[in-house]
Point group: D2
Chain length 368, copies 4
């Protein structure tokens, strides 16, 4: 580093010249710009579901949903990222809340999005005119530029988790947005048990011969709902196969599935990977670190998670952030809540597809 | 054409010179070699299931199954292809038959294969040590170079349809073959309701994070069974969506699903496309022609099919061939048999993936 | 093999039943259909350039070129392939001959083609209206469905080698053909030193921003000429880098370049790989075997080549065939002819892209 | 926007609750986060080459080059990006300066980089041990994780332009960095006219059969130098083809080539597109806007460029920035300097490959 050079008056003068001309030397910045490995400004942080839920409910009383604000969504703001509503440098995570009978108006945007339901039901998200029920454990992706709205068809409020690539598209200046119709049609207010999307694309390994999968700007899965019953069964199957003496799990006691686009087998959204992990009671996962960041939501069970230097006890609904290259591990433990599966179920989403597409992905620890 | 040229003694002499030197002029062959469009030596032909079944049963009595002959399989020999066991220039289609308690020994080969069950049950195909039940309507792919054997765990014989790319690999000289163990282990004689393959890969849109999908020479779907209950439901869903006023079908009254590799969304086998078509009672499909050839099996219902100049009444189990560029259409009609779905269900396999991979695919008629 | 079973009258009867129903059992055919490794019906064979040249010249005197016969091309007919004009099961290789002032009429076809010039010059091939000079050492690909014609602008006849995938498209029934205009325009009779194709696409690593690369059916390189000066220099450079102590060659004394599509880096034609190999004086290449077949033309120098059990001394212009999985090696030796490079230069084309696209390629010996 | 809601004490209280919990509501931020189209914080800005050159020369006198600071590079800091050394949100552009006899020490990093030479010569960049001459007009890419150093073998200082994806990898936390050897070997201090890279990969459409193209982390072109003589000729050829009445140019009077990876035909670096545009005297290009940002350097000639609301007269070496979705156009005009080509030659690099890989690219105006 040239910082050891005495800062002579001549050098001072040079640096002032740089400033005047809107120039910055590499040699004073290289430690920050080009570290030996990623050192994120984002920090590990945990948000408690109960507190999120309370504030969202209060917003439900005080803040209307409608055109302009568009959604009653409240975003996690990583303390390392200057107060911006960015859970990580690339990912948005929010709790969204809809009151009985409310509609969130239709719009579309290039940002890729999904909903994940930790508790409750009663809202239908309407993607390209197809009403899709949302229930505990369901994962509902909606790739960029699909029209979408939400309506609460019941007499109870409902909260869920939204994930988007808003920060990524914000820092790279790629975002487009359009408002749609102010009101859904009666047909779109329907409350079917299965959506058209699921009926066309939700059969394992079966592709509709006639269906195309979207045009420009609508890459991403044509399947708009991944139901908990399938996810749960897939995780249970992996653990059963492991118990029979065959592989199938990430490591002993640690099952995981990735949500994928049935038309391509690729990640469910072009910029977002989503997975569900099940860690059996007493299992401690091996530390893993990866380029890129993740947000985790505790879906079920309780346990202890470690992100870099931070360790937290977590339970249903808690959300936390794993910045780039911070080691992550988890341990499943008996907790206050009853677990459906007798295990710690962690929903995770990350920005990995961005880096895999560009050849920038690296992983250390358990192979994924 | 130079054929108009008088065949002078000098020309005769030249042609004899060509023969001596193992040469052939283009100008006398071009009409055959480079036609305006494909004119296959293969011809449309129909084989009746009942007759196949009888001869296979007789072979069950007379011909043992074991090492050397390997399989009690009897192949369709297209009358245009010189008595070779080739249903089309690229595709093999056979009826295979296994007696109660019999085992077909383990082997592997680069030829891509599948089983399709028109009737009966009781045989497990064991792919890479994973026993997989075979039941009416199931489609069971097994990509090249996977070890596989079959065993009949019941007291009744069972017949099914085998499809492979034997002719393609034969004419292009790409085939490798190895014998495996002569006997399956007890564990492989198990008769589970669901295979490990289905438990790992059979959940819609869900990919096991830990599972890799085969190494060199084992491209093709890691899902070894596509169950009739899923196929049937997917077809019924398409027709229901159409009835609700949305698309989803190939054309009105004509639903179709393609069997795909859940890891890639591509065709289930690198050289073979497989689909199930459902044509509702009274529907007449529009004529389609394609580069490449298909074999159809009537899975259920009855009707009339037209292949080029040939028209046949068909019913359950009947097999027929559509050569390259011959127009194909079908009409569903009430027949003697009871149909599960009230429709004509046609299973189809073709060599389309070969030509799509090489940019040689063309289609005329209904878009697929 | 079940042939050990005594052929009882009952079995005879069964086999006659098979015949009547156009069926063939696997167990009597499996040795031929599913060998342990490829055993091609094609055999190693050598054609001498001088003899080809003489017969082609005689055809130039006796056989007109025109509509119908289309081309004065004389094809190698592998002795193992039943007298068909197939050098290998998938590849066509021919000598084409054009008299002074002659035109070969315009047409197009789905078959992928190239020209390679062993000696002479004076013909322009006109691809999509772009006249392209042909000179010794030049490789001139022309992917399927491009219009093309040839005209000899000089007072001397010219011969060259044509390579196509005619047999592959013939056996798989994918070929389409159309006649074009009977006469070229004056502009197309131009004899430019460089074609438009070369001026747009012939700059290393530089892609024209505006140029698209063909539509449906015209996959394959947009560069229609690969000039000998570049090929020769690339081979000399590889040998020089090797001499400096770095790699770059296939093995010591054996340099090789592959002709590729500059728009994709892939093989120059979707179904045909083309390469030039230079083997320095005294070098003996290691035996290699591959799935799929090759045709070699001796471009320069002389030496000994071994294909399976056959060994031949070869010199400029000689053509020979390497069937699938037959080991091939070559040795460069001083011969009667003067060599430009002091080495044995072998032009090779093969069907490898077909098998790489389908996951069926295997190689044994020197990595390529 | 819900801002129309009166900010009641209850709402104030809610917002304070959000702050305490590190939460931010969408409804107050949506206008900034999800605009109708990209509205970059980066602004159009121009840096004059002469001023850059002077400050770099002064740095040459005052600031040593060595381990720690690594490079005497001075970066453009877009006035909209808070003083960070980011020309655009994703791209780094700097002038680098090396004194006679100086070496810049070896290192490697995941950031993708290139050098572009506006004037001068005398420095060799040594990529993976291969010394590569740098001369006016040359474009020298060096994909991430390749070892590289620079040495000035002459008695004169030399300046050039560096382009990297430092900001992109900084904001997404993907960067790794390693120092290499402190001194180059004598062999690496060689000053060859052509590098090994060019001798292996610099022949149009010819791929070395033996050469692989890098391992993990070294995606990007294996060709480390794109020489001006080729670029210049390609541009001249396009304009000549246009003059003959065929296409080939982006629009009349506007030729352009893209630097591509000869092994894949893709962009030369996974995250950076690089092109050279030639605009003939008097030509005015049509306004274009694109998602993603560009940096332009005037290589030759002079003219007027318009970026959004800004218009500047530019001449050799001037650098300017086009933020995402800002319309860009240029006009070539006679200026004080003599132009080699009689035209305005603009070198451009952008982050387009990132957005094309992710399906986020949009363009309005002249197709590219």
């Amino acid at each position: 580093m040239t910082s050891s050079a005495d800062v002579t008056p001549e050098l001072e003068d040079l640096y002032r010249g740089f400033e005047r001309e809107l120039l910055v030397p590499l040699w004073t910045e290289i430690g920050d710009l080009m570290p030996a490995h990623p050192r994120s400004r984002a920090v590990p942080h945990l948000w408690r579901w109960q507190r999120l839920r309370e504030l969202a409910a209060r917003a439900g009383e005080l803040v209307p949903v409608g055109r302009g604000g568009e959604r009653r969504a409240i975003a996690l703001a990583n303390p390392g990222l200057g107060g911006r509503p960015f859970a990580t440098p690339t990912l948005w995570a929010a709790i969204q809340y809809l009151m009985p009978g409310e509609d969130a108006p239709e719009h579309r945007h290039t940002q890729h999005a999904f909903r994940f339901v930790v508790e409750g039901e009663g809202v239908w998200t309407v993607v390209d005119g197809d009403p899709i029920a949302m229930r505990r454990g369901d994962f509902l992706p909606q790739a960029g530029w699909n029209w979408h709205a939400h309506h609460n068809a019941t007499a109870k409020p409902m909260a869920w988790i939204d994930g988007l690539d808003i920060p990524f598209q914000y820092v790279t200046d790629t975002q487009f947005f359009q408002q749609g119709r102010d009101r859904l049609s009666d047909a779109e207010h329907a409350t079917p048990d299965r959506s058209r999307s699921e009926r066309l694309w939700g059969h394992p390994g079966l592709r509709p011969v006639a269906a195309s999968t979207g045009g420009p700007g609508t890459a991403g899965s044509p399947l708009f709902a991944y139901r908990w019953e399938h996810t749960d069964r897939a995780l249970a199957d992996q653990l059963a196969i492991e118990a029979e003496g065959f592989g199938g799990t990430v490591q002993p006691g640690h099952a995981a599935v990735r949500f994928t686009d049935p038309a391509t087998g690729a990640d469910v959204l072009p910029t977002i990977r989503a997975e569900m992990h099940r860690i059996t009671r007493g299992t401690q996962t091996a530390p893993v670190r990866e380029t890129g960041s993740s947000v985790y939501a505790v879906f079920d069970g309780s346990g202890t998670v470690t992100v870099g230097a931070a360790t937290w006890s977590v339970t249903r609904g808690d959300l936390f952030v794993v910045p780039s290259w911070e080691p992550f591990s988890a341990r499943s433990e008996a907790g206050a809540t009853d677990s459906d599966s007798g295990a710690l179920d962690l929903f995770r989403f990350s920005d990995s597809p961005v880096f895999e597409a560009l050849g920038l992905a690296r992983t250390e620890g358990t192979a994924r």
